[in-house]
Symmetry: C2
Subunit: 484 residues, 2 copies
Amino acid sequence: MLPPASVIRLAGEQRELPYKAPYAGMIPSARKAAIMGDHWQQASQRQPGGQSPETPHGSRIDPYVGQYAERARGMVASEIRALFAVTARPEIVSLAGGSPYVTALPLDAVGEMFGQLVAGRGSAALQYCTAQGDAGLREKICEVMSLEGIRAHPDDVVVTVGSQQALDLITRIFIDPGDVVLAEAPSYVGALGAFAAYQADVVHVPMDDQGLIPEALGEAIAAAGAAGRRVKFLYTVPNFQNPAGVTLAAGRRHAILDICRAAGLLVIEDNPYGLLGFEGEPMRALRADDPQGVVYLGSFSKTFAPGLRVGWAAAPPAVRDKLVLAAESAVLCHSSFAQMAVREYLGTQGWREQIKDFRELYRRRRDAALEALSAQMPDGCEWTRPAGGFYVWLKLPDGINAKAMLPRAVSSRVAYVPGTGFYADGSGAGHIRLSYCFPEPERIREGIRRLASVIETEMELRDTFGTDAIPRGTGVDTPGPGDL
Amino acid sequence: MLPPASVIRLAGEQRELPYKAPYAGMIPSARKAAIMGDHWQQASQRQPGGQSPETPHGSRIDPYVGQYAERARGMVASEIRALFAVTARPEIVSLAGGSPYVTALPLDAVGEMFGQLVAGRGSAALQYCTAQGDAGLREKICEVMSLEGIRAHPDDVVVTVGSQQALDLITRIFIDPGDVVLAEAPSYVGALGAFAAYQADVVHVPMDDQGLIPEALGEAIAAAGAAGRRVKFLYTVPNFQNPAGVTLAAGRRHAILDICRAAGLLVIEDNPYGLLGFEGEPMRALRADDPQGVVYLGSFSKTFAPGLRVGWAAAPPAVRDKLVLAAESAVLCHSSFAQMAVREYLGTQGWREQIKDFRELYRRRRDAALEALSAQMPDGCEWTRPAGGFYVWLKLPDGINAKAMLPRAVSSRVAYVPGTGFYADGSGAGHIRLSYCFPEPERIREGIRRLASVIETEMELRDTFGTDAIPRGTGVDTPGPGDL
């Protein structure tokens, strides 16, 4: 059994970390607040007089507490955020983060290429560029998208600061407070964060092991219409979904497109993992069959390197125009250097072979994870079997709370992301996301061994004291970038 | 005299440029619309049935025209945007752009440093990092800010995608539609764009050659209060202001801070040029004397390289926390590579010496510009004499319209930014901004010679036909990043 002291010790150690979450245990999270409509209650909790004793040194009384925009009132860190920071310690096996294994890149060759780029073309690479992005890179991006059946023109593409910025800009141009976004249940935490930042209401649509369920999508659209709600778009990660690891079946893709077209609903197809499948050819993109109805989001973060922050959106012309203007207002333009570096990488470094290497590397790690899960997990656990990407979605035995268990798991030197981070409606406490992308296979096996032991201990607690003995966490999880 | 045909030819050539502005002459600009409250009129102009014959090929009917967020209805490019793109042609002397002269950097040494960074520490440099930014870089940033008297802790700093992203995030966390931002008249166009994107109302406060006028600031605050408006912050570029080239006098700085403190008003101190003064030591920053009342924005775009997009905000703790969360929602995190590259540059490459070299280079160009203006400009022109930075602000003779003149100037192979871009209220048509940062001194002299000739021709037109003969431009200018 794990004493509460271990949790307190972890919390105390936050002070040494680069980012300190000053709200630990103090304020409910952004999305919960948005749903519950308790913005003002939150604000009042932050009044000087209401300052919590937990507020650490350095976070002083906020003289601007009454000044923030309505949208900012929900911008608060969750109490588990700091816990994630400690998962970077070497003794902890982190199955939480979604960091790609960039060490597998040919770092010497990439470094030489970067050096030559500055020495030879530094006057352009170190200068401003246009908000739409480097034209040569946009050509290469069209080549990359053609692997998934997309025929695009470089004019259709806007380069973004990772695909997260594309999510931000799409939401910025489409969402008024209270508008509805349809999204899979569960959905990518970064997308939910962007939607929440513009005060969207996310309505989750069920998935099964074949991905989003067309009938459920139709019902959700009809229900929103009957309730007089304005639905602005469907957000979907069709391939090797984050966090569920499932892929939208080929046979469902046309049905999804037909339903959205009939409803006049734009589709946001977020596809960071599409080229990282372990079996056969890449799936045909939704955008390949409906370029006017789909905004496709891509990223080089998983196929090359997240540290350059190069993603993109391919959009219908009018949407593209708005995205360019929104990007300019947000950051003026992307980094010329990063864009030229990716263009150069795609032009000279055998990127197709590198993706094959990554696929093989992640396939081995997926296999290690699935084998260890089969061998170690107690009865009552269920999990998905991803055919690509980074994630396994695991259902805990009944009565086990993923969030309440997390501090004890970290004390047992294994970390994961509780399922609550992937829902806008507070559900998901019965699930966890396990990432197999970063640790070596032997570490994955060790981490799953530790996790199985933690779950078994929780089950003993449950059987002895009932589910009420497990303290329930508060707030929705918002892990940091390294955890996504 | 310049025939209208020359203008038409330029417009026709837009089609070859990477970014096409499909709205030329069709729709009033974002800020004008925001002020006039004619969002819906704009939207209706874009209905399929109302499509203008000027809409170029490739910009099809927009099926999402009724779907955009309220804030996006104003996101439209101005008709002069495409004109700026042609200023990149070698035959044109562009005094429009604000691009620093990065060719003066030691490109071989910087390239070697970049290469070693990836080869030696690529596993970190190509990976995700935290949303607040690289801790080592934030330490170095504090060292840079200490040159202006700021005593900051790395915890106070948030690294941003250029200081434009800091402007975006500050506006995002503080501005509800209709809130007032106080800003100098004129003000930086990128800041006005960020304020407009969140539907702020900008109230301009007059400057003179000593910068912002404290009495005028006090009056603006009082007037806004009397009108029941919510003023959220003062936005100011105190040093070598963009576009006016003036510097806030030392004797006024405490007065400005006192007025804002008494009004409970946050100050946004945007300082990209502070270290690029031509005379004496850097001015003491506003933040140096009121760290709780000032958010300081800095940038490496002018002292190192804009192509890495590394800027920062130093903010009071509670504001910093909101900025970190907003940054995460917007882009997850900044580029590890770019941050480590700047950190490495500051640690190894003699950045203080490089800034001295830049100062000397820009001083020579400023001198060339001022000498040529004195020698060439016709009576009736007046201009500022900047003691640093990139810009001269020139008042045209009465009755000459800067925007109407621009196509003729470009036909005469010289470009500038019309003053209208730097006001949220549609004024500024009697001014132009001239940048001396990028062209060689001889080119600056040639450009000013051409410009003087264009102005003289305008004056002849004015004297012959009266001011009505000069066609008035419509909309407010929103130049692209390369023009700022």
